[in-house]
């Protein structure tokens, strides 16, 4: 996982790549949208915001085609993250959802408020229950080499 402490750091490190530029745009736009309404920018990403409490899960979730980016807006957010290969699968991968689920033991990481956390594609994560505040979720395509669609 990669934690960018601020939008400025994200832009400085990845701002030349269109999908990450759009990630920045999504972060800006997200809180102006209604809660839990997914929107998209081009084909690069889908984004929305919701309460941390509704993000919490028992299982770890992993993806294969879309990187998950989360950004807590109101306070720090604690997540657990581990390589998928260190976890035990509980739900097979689905092309429909781009999700697979796992259980296991993982490191706990606290993402500061307004920081931006991008999980690697070989990682799974879970938001620890019992937290509150708005969290932006962005699903960003893994495609990096070719992306002509708008």
């Amino acid at each position: 996982m990669h934690v960018f402490q601020s939008r400025e750091q994200l832009d400085a490190e990845l701002g030349t790549v269109r999908k990450w530029q759009r990630t920045g745009q999504a972060l800006e736009a997200s809180l102006m949208l209604a809660k839990a309404e997914a929107h998209s920018i081009g084909d690069s990403l889908v984004y929305w915001w919701q309460d941390a409490a509704t993000l919490a899960a028992e299982d770890f979730v992993g993806h294969r085609r879309y990187l998950t980016v989360i950004s807590p807006q109101d306070g720090a957010l604690t997540v657990q993250v581990a390589p998928k290969m260190m976890l035990e699968p509980t739900e097979p991968y689905s092309d429909l959802t781009d999700r697979e689920r796992f259980v296991g033991v993982a490191d706990e990481v606290t993402i500061p408020a307004m920081a931006i956390c991008a999980f690697d594609i070989d990682e799974a994560y879970r938001v620890v229950p019992g937290q509150s505040g708005a969290v932006v979720t962005i699903h960003v395509t893994v495609e990096g080499y070719s992306f002509p669609n708008k």
């Binding site: 209604a34 997914a38 998209s40 781009d98 070719s146």
Partner: protein, 1002 residues
């Protein structure tokens, strides 16, 4: 001061064009009106047909005299047409780039200008009537002259225009002249992905409008329970009174008076229009003057009301989903000059393929198209003629969309569409255009559309639906659509373009459909697109092919990006359309063999399954053995019914249940007992036991420096000790193979993998990997002889590749089992097109029989339409004639395939054991992979005598990433460790059983 040309002035949309109105014809009697024949309407003069024509290099090159003097020496062209298709000027194709420097609203001064002339004889003119010239499509700017006098001007290529020519006509001969400019300011908002071509491309005609006449009407339906409250608003000229009648076709009209331009009618127990039961009432408006009836105007009235309630679009109060396509006008011999017959066949093909909606991408259609949609039952997302896509290339796609000086041009386009077509039941949504960014002019268009009609309004690039009523995206991927479903907007959502159907594909439609069907908030999907835009042509030596961008010397161009339809240019379905038909089949079948329950679910929205008949075939090893039928009956929309169905499994072999769904009702688009879907379910698999066969003599082996020969009773196999390949394999005196067997990872590139090719495969030379044989050894294994070949298959330049072992095990029976494994080395782990072997067979082995998916081609992510069975075809017939040649003809989940000569000898390929548990795929072509990869048109392919056979252990899914979804993760194959085995069995006669029988090899 510089003159502003009319064709470079977006605030000037027309001169003297009549106000837009509903499209209708007036008749002199109720009887004539009942025919609805345009030709029988009052004073109708068909002006389509021969016109004198001359193309000038620009508007200033046109001598003024040609606007007033008939020039008999000019060429004659048949209108409607596009002059470039007829050989005048140059054809060009770009996706979105303007073919000239962008400096809006200016266009090139060398703006190709066509002058059309025709003498129109008017035997008599009624002094009280008005005569109206109507043009349903002229691209892109037209000036009208009658008898040398300027009548008017219009822009908006795909929108109808009417001019009152009464004052310019005289009895006898009249010279009609139409001056057409290819480019105008309008071109900047007509940048749809299609051929750049121009001319009078739809019908034009004269109509006589009596002094007492209907000027316009608007009919609307409001549903209350089972009743339709229908209102009519009319505008008339000189009318003493107006009568409005509505009837069931063939029955007597119920009539009411229209007072002060308005009338209401209540139809109790109304039969509402919907795409599954597109019932149309007959409607007649009679306009009376002081002398009695003056004009009769018929209309086919569909009772339809579209509303949005609770975030859902409802048709007559009923929820529905649109399973649609995007349709451009295209005819492979006439371009956009599409005739009525082609339109009708398009709609019939849509209905036959379970499609219930069309998006008129990206412009208004011929007015008769909407009538046909009413008649056939196709819901219309009615888009107007607006796209400014090319501004994306200069960094601001919304440059003029958000420029108030263009507002008149934008608003004009939605106003004309809505005014003309708002009486159609089939139109469920208006669309403001396509890919033009977002801005003030979109908001203005929306407001005008809403003033004119209450139906929902769509525009994709209002991406968050700030203004419009429907939130829409294009090319959103499967899981993105699922994200939208899990986190819905309060407004209904559609995917207005997906499944880019360029060449072979699209793949992944089943997964898309599962997501579309899962979420109520997603109410429509529209495949991109309906038909390839290829234009029929022949080479100098007479070989047919279809043109695309670049074939006319046009530059820049977007090549074959316009060959992206589910129909071939010759209006026949591609494999992609056949797959789509199955994926959206509205009758869903599920079968659970254990309790023996067959569940039939009605996926329709408005009608029951009363017309549906289901056949159940028990199939053993691909052969139907029993059949029964079911009638699900009046299952309501969304409901299901469960039938007990016990299938007797065969004691040995593979038992499958194939379920076919038919509609028993004859319709305009199908005969009775038309198949609308097919499903298949596994029942049991009891592999046939192997058996002892008569003893055969032991194999002998001879070896020299270059070859190894393994000989048996009827077989002799020669291996090259240099390459490890089979250099000769004779069985019963004939050569079995025409080449060695090569392991490979490449197949001809398909359009939907072009991006992978550009980014991964070409840079890594995956398409030109080299095979290096490191060793060839042999040993006896029992009665068999095993020849092991160590190979490295790797690209030039780089230090990665695959270390492979091929083990040919030659049995005394004459069979050869081939075991293959590979272990990658180096740093390439990305996707590859396939893992398989290829070889050639003698040219006489062109008859193909197989047990696997068929009869059409299938790929791992596109196989719903082709069920497992035993099929027969020929190598030549199995080659899919994609306009741009590419990989094709693959058949998935094959247990065995035999390629044979006329008398039955040839080769059968299967797995050594358990082929039903571990099937493979194959294709067989009359060309080599290299032939197909190097061809750019069908005419480049020259049939070879030898047959190329590809046996794939794995093949990459198709996806639709020519513009859209990458291959889904489950259908990706990567450059990673693999192993597989095949069994190659020579066929000595027509007896295929000898090769299918599992023999205990000694």
């Amino acid at each position: 001061m510089e003159t502003i040309n009319d064709w470079e002035n977006p605030s000037l949309t027309n001169k003297n064009r009549l106000a837009p109105r509903a499209y209708f014809m007036g008749y002199e009697s109720a009887e004539l009106a009942s025919t609805r024949s345009r030709e029988l309407s009052r004073g109708f003069v068909q002006l389509s047909g021969p016109w004198q024509f001359r193309l000038f290099p620009g508007p200033r090159a046109v001598p003024s005299r040609v606007l007033s003097e008939y020039v008999a020496e000019w060429d004659t062209v048949e209108v409607p047409h596009l002059w470039q298709v007829d050989g005048y000027g140059s054809l060009a194709y770009t996706d979105e780039g303007f073919p000239f420097p962008v400096e809006q609203p200016l266009v090139p001064s060398d703006d190709p200008t066509g002058i059309y002339q025709r003498i129109v004889t008017m035997p008599s003119l009624c002094p009280t009537s008005r005569y109206v010239l109507r043009l349903d499509g002229v691209e892109s700017y037209a000036e009208i002259y009658v008898n040398g006098v300027f009548v008017g001007m219009t822009k908006g290529s795909r929108l109808s225009a009417e001019f009152d020519v009464t004052d310019f006509l005289s009895e006898g001969e009249n010279l009609f002249v139409v001056k057409v400019l290819q480019y105008s300011d309008g071109t900047y908002i007509e940048d749809q992905d299609m051929w750049w071509a121009s001319g009078i491309f739809r019908d034009l005609y004269l109509m006589e409008r009596p002094a007492v006449r209907l000027e316009d009407f608007c009919v609307r339906t409001h549903r209350v329970d089972g009743s339709a409250y229908v209102t009519l608003d009319v505008k008339t000229n000189g009318a003493a009174r107006v009568e409005w009648g509505v009837s069931i076709p063939g029955e007597k009209f119920a009539r009411t008076e229209v007072k002060d331009g308005h009338a209401e009618f209540v139809i109790e127990d109304a039969r509402f229009w919907n795409p599954e039961d597109p019932f149309l009432y007959d409607m007649l408006i009679t306009v009376f003057g002081p002398e009695g009836p003056s004009e009769f105007v018929p209309h086919r009235l569909g009772l339809a009301e579209v509303t949005i309630e609770g975030g859902h679009i409802l048709l007559n109060g009923t929820y529905f989903k649109m399973r649609g396509v995007n349709r451009h006008d295209h005819d492979d011999h006439a371009g956009r000059a599409v005739g009525l017959a082609r339109m009708r066949r398009d709609l019939e093909l849509m209905k036959r393929h379970n499609i219930n909606a069309v998006r008129t991408s990206h412009y208004a259609n011929d007015p008769r198209f909407y009538e046909l949609c009413d008649e056939y039952g196709i819901m219309v997302l009615a888009e107007t003629d607006m796209e400014s896509h090319g501004f994306e290339n200069i960094g601001n796609i919304a440059m003029i969309t958000d420029d108030p000086s263009w507002e008149a041009a934008y608003v004009d386009r939605i106003e004309r569409l809505v005014m003309q077509e708002r009486n159609h039941a089939s139109i469920v949504i208006w669309s403001l255009g396509n890919e033009s960014g977002y801005g003030c002019n979109i908001r203005a268009m929306y407001s005008r559309a809403k003033e004119l009609d209450g139906r929902p309004v769509h525009y994709e690039e209002d991406r968050d639906a700030e203004t419009v009523d429907i939130i829409s995206t294009m090319y959103s991927r499967v899981s993105q659509m699922n994200d939208f479903g899990e986190h819905p907007s309060p407004k209904p959502r559609i995917n207005c373009e997906y499944g880019h159907s360029m060449g072979n594909g699209p793949g992944g439609l089943s997964e898309y459909q599962e997501v579309f069907d899962r979420w109520d908030s997603i109410q429509g999907q529209f495949i991109w697109e309906w038909c390839d835009h290829g234009l029929a042509a022949t080479t100098d030596d007479g070989r047919p092919y279809h043109k695309y961008g670049g074939d006319s010397g046009d530059y820049p161009n977007n090549g074959n990006f316009c060959i992206d339809g589910m129909l071939f240019p010759w209006q026949e379905p591609s494999p992609g359309l056949i797959e789509y038909k199955q994926v959206i089949c509205p009758v869903k079948i599920a079968y659970d063999a254990l309790p023996g329950e067959l569940t039939v679910t009605n996926g329709r929205w408005f009608t029951t399954l009363d017309d549906v008949l289901i056949t159940l075939e028990t199939v053993v090893d691909g052969i139907p053995v029993t059949t029964q039928t079911l009638s699900p009956g009046a299952v309501k929309p969304g409901a299901h019914v469960v039938f007990p169905v016990r299938v007797e499994a065969a004691h040995t072999g593979e038992t499958l249940l194939t379920v076919r769904v038919y509609t028993t009702t004859a319709r305009a688009w199908c005969d009775p007992l038309y198949q609308i879907g097919v499903y298949q379910f596994p029942v049991a698999l009891h592999p046939r036991p192997s058996m002892a066969a008569p003893a055969t003599p032991a194999l002998s082996v001879t070896e020299d420096k270059l070859t190894l020969t393994v000989s048996g009773a009827s077989t002799s196999v020669v291996f090259s000790l240099v390459s490890g390949e089979i250099s000769s394999w004779r069985a019963a005196g004939r050569e079995v193979l025409a080449s060695g067997i090569c392991l490979g990872f490449w197949h001809p590139l398909i359009d939907n993998h072009q991006q992978e090719f550009d980014a991964l495969w070409q840079p890594n030379f995956i398409n030109v990997m080299q095979t290096s044989t490191r060793s060839v050894t042999w040993e006896r294994v029992g009665a068999a002889v095993a020849v092991s070949v160590e190979q490295r298959i790797a690209p030039p330049v780089y230090a990665f590749g695959m270390r492979c072992r091929l083990v040919y095990t030659v049995f005394p029976s004459g069979r050869i089992d081939l075991g293959v494994n590979g272990t990658p080395y180096g740093d390439y782990h990305e996707i590859i097109p396939r893992i398989g072997v290829s070889f050639e067979l003698p040219g006489e082995d062109r008859a193909v029989e197989w047990y696997g998916r068929g009869p059409g081609e299938s790929y791992p992510d596109s196989l719903a339409a082709n069920v497992i069975g035993r099929y027969a075809s020929t190598v030549d017939d199995m080659f899919t004639p994609y306009v741009f040649p590419q990989d094709c003809g693959n058949h998935e989940q094959v247990r065995w395939v035999a390629l044979r000569a006329r008398h039955g000898h040839g080769l059968l390929v299967t797995r050594p054991t358990d082929a039903a548990k571990n099937p493979f795929s194959f294709s067989a072509w009359p060309y080599t992979c290299e032939d197909i990869d190097s061809a750019r048109h069908a005419s480049d392919l020259v049939r070879r005598d030898a047959v190329t056979v590809n046996i794939n252990d794995k093949i990459l899914g198709l996806g639709s990433n020519s513009w859209g979804s990458e291959v889904l993760d489950s259908y990706r194959i990567r450059f990673e460790k693999f192993s597989f085995a095949l069994s190659l069995r020579p066929l000595l006669s027509a007896d295929i059983e000898q090769a299918l029988t599992q023999i205990e090899e000694g």
